[in-house]
């Protein structure tokens, strides 16, 4: 038993000490997957005000609470009409196995929502199993080609992601199989860098022209999303709308990554909670809230998170890390194997090294074969159904017949920080810090 007189430093805690020791031994910064792990103001710091005398609830098992959402009806001939407002975020083939990508497509399709490619192109497995597939247009342009662009249901121009706004990517050589390398036109086994800036445009004015080009190539059929990592969200959303985005995707700092420097993940960007009101304000000031749809990602775990994001003004959410967990990531059944590679179930974040015991973030054929895409798809569909049911439960309690009808007035905050960021009152008060009252 630990001597109770021993006192751990709050400044140099055990994780910090281990980090310093690791840096001294290796001379390389820590690269890992997952998103920010530090405590942050989040959706847990918000509560719904259920109906009582002043509001009229809906009967939970009798009255409808609809969940569908139309994305991209500003300019596109064929906007996406999803049955639920919970989408699968962009994750690359390369970062994930082909089986995992297929499972995500199967699960999303079963419940009528979309999944998204990633840095590395579109696989036939994913396209084949995805009813609604969003094709990411990234700075690396790995695997980008007009044939797949025409096969996509929407195009997502990625400027950044919440785990590393302003940063590029690095898929380490151990995950570069012949197939991954072939799709990216690079030698197998070498580290593959993804640039942080697009190669043929440099600012919002250029982006406007780039979006027109993408629309021209696809005959104005596809919705065009613009995805940003949450930083200067108010300005970024305004510029994205001005550039012609049909949908803006805002990814908070809890959003996941397959491989990024730990220092980047933990110290760049703002929490999802702080980003949403900025994005909504920008859309409202431009008069396009609900016309240019807002998708929010970064730390969505439960139906409560879904409902809270939508109450703050999002039209839909996207999940990444949670979807991997639903597939089996960090499952206790692999406890022994996690231990062998220096991790533990519930802590595993070395998505970059390709040794994932769950067979999800790997290109090792034997490990990848552990994930059955059909069973994985069933798990994803189950999880998405639970998220939807939970969100509906909360919406009905607030008297809402559609998830999109949730509103900030339905929420209060538990902490001053959350109240200030989410711009809702501190519970039991009418005080919203920062609004001048």
């Amino acid at each position: 038993m630990t001597n109770p007189a021993l006192r751990e430093s709050a400044t140099f805690d055990r994780a910090t000490i281990a980090g310093i020791q690791r840096a001294a031994e290796t001379g390389v910064y820590d690269i890992r997957g997952w998103g920010a792990k530090r405590p942050l103001p989040h959706f847990d710091d918000l509560l719904f005000l259920g109906a009582s005398m002043s509001r009229y609830p809906l009967e939970g098992y009798r009255e409808r609470c609809d969940t569908d959402v139309v994305l991209g009806d500003r300019h596109a001939k064929f906007p996406l009409h999803l049955d639920i407002p919970i989408t699968i975020a962009g994750m690359s083939f390369g970062a994930l196995s082909a089986q995992a990508k297929e499972a995500l497509g199967r699960g999303a399709s079963e419940v009528g929502t979309s999944t998204t490619t990633g840095d590395g192109g579109m696989t036939p497995e994913e396209r084949g199993q995805s009813k609604h597939l969003v094709y990411q247009y990234l700075p690396s342009r790995y695997g980008m080609n007009p044939t797949d662009l025409r096969k996509a249901d929407a195009i997502e121009v990625v400027l950044g992601q919440g785990a590393k706004p302003g940063g590029g990517g690095m898929l380490l050589g151990q995950k570069i199989s012949e197939r991954v390398a072939g799709m990216r036109t690079l030698p197998a086994g070498i580290d593959q860098r993804s640039a942080c800036r697009h190669p043929d445009w440099t600012g919002p004015d250029d982006l406007t022209i780039k979006i027109v080009e993408l629309r021209e190539i696809t005959d104005w059929e596809k919705p065009v999303y613009v995805k940003v990592g949450a930083t200067r969200t108010y300005y970024d959303v305004k510029l994205a709308v001005a550039a012609g985005a049909d949908v803006v995707v805002v990814d908070g700092m809890q959003g996941g990554t397959a491989a990024t420097q730990d220092v980047f993940i933990e110290h760049v960007g703002i929490p999802t909670l702080a980003a949403i009101p900025q994005a909504v304000q920008a859309l409202q000031e431009l008069g396009v809230h609900r016309k240019v749809q807002l998708i929010v990602s970064g730390g969505i775990r439960t139906g409560a998170d879904v409902a809270k994001a939508m109450a703050l003004g999002a039209d839909a959410v996207a999940i990444g890390t949670a979807a991997l967990i639903a597939l089996g990531d960090n499952h206790p059944r692999y406890a022994d194997e996690y231990e062998k590679i220096g991790s533990a179930a519930g802590f595993y974040d070395d998505f970059q090294d390709g040794r994932d015991p769950a067979g999800i973030t790997t290109q090792d054929p034997e490990l990848a074969a552990r994930l059955d895409p059909v069973e994985g798809g069933r798990r994803i569909a189950n999880y998405l159904r639970v998220l939807t049911l939970e969100a509906q439960t909360l919406a009905r309690a607030c008297g809402k017949a559609h998830l999109r009808n949730l509103e900030p007035e339905d929420l209060v905050a538990l902490t001053i920080e959350a109240a200030a960021m989410a711009r809702v009152p501190l519970a039991g008060t009418d005080w919203i810090p920062g609004n001048g009252r």
């Binding site: 290796t26 001379g27 390389v28 690396s140 342009r141 980008m144 080609n145 007009p146 044939t147 662009l149 690095m170 380490l172 050589g173 990216r184 036109t185 690079l186 030698p187 070498i190 580290d191 860098r193 640039a195 190669p199 043929d200 445009w201 250029d206 022209i209 780039k210 027109v212 080009e213 021209e216 190539i217 696809t218 005959d219 104005w220």
Partner: protein, 230 residues
């Protein structure tokens, strides 16, 4: 009675729109098109995926011939940013100069710029062949993955920075090489492939006058001892 496919067709962008032009080019009724009064419009002939011939009589704006896949497209003037970006196959010729990011991320096909090309020419190229009759600007062939870039004039700073497997041939002066880009010996096979590229571009320079540049392959794996290079 069978309809006869018209051999050629003219589209005047002073009276028609780029949208109408591209819609026609995506489902072409003719084998050849002449685009009049392009007036620097953007995305002219973007997304061509049939073996049509397109002659643009004047200057083109951004992303002319973007993602071309099989078309033979000629700009009888200069082209703006990103001409032939992400080209898959076919040929794009610019008789004048090209702005930034010419041939960016191209997977295949041949891009010929008779004049000079601005910075970032061939950035992230993935198999395209690019021949520039004049000079190219700085940061060209940045992270170039595959394909060949031929420069008959001079190259600006940081040529081939972080280059992968693309090959670069320069006839004139190179201001500076980027990280991990080095000069390499010209062997017989390089002289031969360069002669072929020059021939395809319609240029009669002597391949022996060129120098070859490519990756030293020292940065293919991230390592602490290379930190000065990043």
């Amino acid at each position: 009675m069978a309809t006869v496919t018209p051999v050629s067709s003219k589209v005047d962008l002073s009276t028609s729109s780029v949208r109408a032009l591209n819609a026609e080019l995506h489902e072409p009724a003719a084998e050849a098109y002449e685009v009049l009064h392009p007036q620097g419009a953007h995305a002219i002939a973007a997304g061509v995926h049939h073996p049509v011939t397109v002659d643009i009589r004047g200057h083109a704006g951004y992303y002319c011939a973007g993602m071309n896949d099989g078309g033979t497209i000629t700009v009888h003037g200069s082209a703006g940013t990103g001409v032939a970006e992400n080209m898959m196959s076919g040929t794009v010729r610019v008789h004048g100069d090209a702005s930034q990011s010419a041939g960016a991320t191209g997977h295949g096909g041949l891009l010929v710029v008779s004049g000079s090309a601005s910075m970032r020419c061939g950035i992230s190229m993935k198999g395209i062949d690019i021949v520039v009759g004049g000079d190219i600007g700085p940061m060209s062939a940045f992270m170039a993955q595959a394909g060949r870039l031929v420069v008959c004039g001079d190259a600006g700073d940081a040529l081939g920075d972080s280059i992968y497997e693309a090959r670069i041939y320069v006839r004139g002066k190179v201001n500076s090489l980027g990280a991990d880009c080095v000069e390499k010996p010209m062997r017989a096979e390089h002289l031969s492939e360069l002669a072929g590229l020059l021939g395809a571009a319609g240029l009669d320079h002597d391949p022996a006058d060129f120098r070859r540049y490519g990756s030293a392959r020292k940065l293919y794996h991230f390592a602490a001892h290379n930190s000065d290079s990043y």
